[in-house]
Symmetry: C2
Subunit: 457 residues, 2 copies
Amino acid sequence: MTVSAALTALADKFGEQLRTSQSERDQHGGSETHFNPIAPDAVFYPNSTADVAAAVTICQKYKCPVIPYGTGTSLEGHTLAILGGVSFDFSHMNKVLAVNCEDFDVVVQPGLTRRALNAELRATGLFFPVDPGANASVGGMAATRASGTTTVRYGNMAENVLALEVVLADGRIIRTGSRARKSSTGYDLTKLMVGSEGTLGVITELTLRLHGRPEATAAAICAFDDVADAVDAVIAGIQSGVPTARIELVDSEATRAFNLYGNTDMPEKPHVLLEFHGSHTAVDEQARLFRKIAKDFGASNFEFATKPEDRDALWTLRHNAYYATLALRKGATAVVTDICVPISKLAQAIDETRKDIANSDIPGPILGHVGDGNFHAILLIDPDKPTEKDTALKLGHRMAQRALRLGGTISGEHGIGVGKLDLMADEHDQAWQVMGAIKLALDPHNIMNPGKVVRLN
Amino acid sequence: MTVSAALTALADKFGEQLRTSQSERDQHGGSETHFNPIAPDAVFYPNSTADVAAAVTICQKYKCPVIPYGTGTSLEGHTLAILGGVSFDFSHMNKVLAVNCEDFDVVVQPGLTRRALNAELRATGLFFPVDPGANASVGGMAATRASGTTTVRYGNMAENVLALEVVLADGRIIRTGSRARKSSTGYDLTKLMVGSEGTLGVITELTLRLHGRPEATAAAICAFDDVADAVDAVIAGIQSGVPTARIELVDSEATRAFNLYGNTDMPEKPHVLLEFHGSHTAVDEQARLFRKIAKDFGASNFEFATKPEDRDALWTLRHNAYYATLALRKGATAVVTDICVPISKLAQAIDETRKDIANSDIPGPILGHVGDGNFHAILLIDPDKPTEKDTALKLGHRMAQRALRLGGTISGEHGIGVGKLDLMADEHDQAWQVMGAIKLALDPHNIMNPGKVVRLN
């Protein structure tokens, strides 16, 4: 009822920008992972911040849910229309508005993808480092506080978003942060919005921090006899202060997936992939230092990739990891887990997780941004067997509890969405109630991506 | 009335932990800068989080203001009891609770000072880098989102606080964040609390990020003919990606203050002080690169200080800058300004500020963490001449407006307190109202350091 009134008002105002065909709705109601699709009632394509503000004002009037949509690559059901409403698709708001080379920053619209951004920056000598694998939109990456392979060196979205423009639930447009590198002027609303998954407001513009392309880049890969050795080598590397731009762990099962998908012939052992950024001297020094440490832990097949094409081949493998592992089991869908622990607990966390997976009948290759203490098991399930999904979700739940027991967090980078709501009280206890109080203060009618992150009574 | 009832209840419960002598009150009602003292009604010395929670619960019951107090070194009147109430002095809660060397983190109580922390860490090879000059408490540093000389390399408090324990206005104890390096589990309450100046809750425990002591450290100093050349050299250094751990500008008047106070004989010209951290090779390379750039901008008297005692002498000078500049004018007090702009606007911001100061009769040496685009003019006023204070405050106000015009912020690191409340709407517009809504949601009776950061109607 209320939603239909909102759709009428939106259609009156925006005409063709509002779409209600089944195919449009279905396209926006899916998920990359195991969640059952739940389509929105309509899809709205804003062209400007003013469009967003006007549409949110209408939605607020009729208490119609607003679900921001980037590329739909999130992994915890963030864009599912669980209470119906309108998906705000930002694909038409995908411009670079200003590149400030001298200040290493860029002002962009939320629908821009990270690859399109880096393509636009190619001539500047600068780049945007945050790299979650998928070619996500920067708005979505900010909303989920994404990170990825380069976080160990360049930080996650929290550290790389300088300022935001946000439309609030009541249609007000606010600006948070500035182009200054730091500020002590009250509550950090930028960092409050980053990671709020669209539940506090809709991001309509972002000022992102850029980094200088390193003078030199070297990539390396090496194999270990077992995961524990690989993890111990990574920990030793981090602790001895070797600065790496990427340190990724791929277990033997994921290596097998890479071989099958990418037509490579790596030994089916755990591998560590690394990248070093800096001056030529520094990169050489770092790579040599890490090799020495890795050899102490029994690393074999240590290979450097200094040519851009070899490096690209290496990282393309890693970027396709999700699809490569999916291909390990024909017709499978995935429960993708995501925990992060203090680095001293990483070996234990991975070891316990591997044993737990081995005791199930579900394949579960492990990949990790191990420099951050963050790893994923990709649990491959037969979508036609509900018991498998149940088993996988329970494995994921135990992983999350394990992370908490070891002083870590239930999500390193994928976020909460609907998939991890049940774990929020376990991680945050009373602090989750505080999140709810903030949500209520900014969105009293609970129209902004309702049912995600917090639970309101 | 309400405050006196609170004091009675607190005295009943805590005995000698509550002090009401005039001298105690006066000690907690002052300010390092130009603000007139406003003493609290009492000073409370908690020994534990439980003490804090119980005392806050009492204060909440009687609507008595709670003002957290570290070392009293804040610069914008953060600890003034403008609505009366109880100063919570954390000097008895100053322990290191756990050092996790493998994870590069430490768990501490808020009353610990940064120097005491680093003294405790000496044997570990790790250090806590944030360095605002004063030997502030880490709780106060978190509350004001402090930064300082090393921010260009290691980040400010926002980037170096991993987790907090906070007592809320209703006495609930929450934990925010974890020891994991990153997390995507809802609203980032840690970063909301950092910089909230005690207005959302009282910090009772902090988990701080540590960094490995660099293998090699080199410091350098050089002189320039004018400030514009110095700033341009810094900008060129930053833009060409020379990694520096510190880049500080000291103008000719501040140099004169250093000479007088520290008994040195530097030429009375603008100086840039630098520090490089890394491996021996990297540090050499960085220092050489910067020297080359500096010489292109006419740098003279380029001196390296690689011996620890020479480096210490250099940075002791910088750390004493505030007291050195104060000593330039006998009996003076200071209006300390603090703006931060995008680095491309730094030369213009400093130039306009210098001209504006030159047009007044007030001495105003300039010092800056110029690698961040952040600088301070220390405006030296005769406390007995109200017109001078008025002139200085107007200069500061124009600096802040200038920062906003240039895309920057009214405070890089000192915070809002009561000193910059009138500028908050200019910087944040509607977003300031959002801060007010968050404050009301978490502290409906406005007892947590009331009158700071936000204004409630």
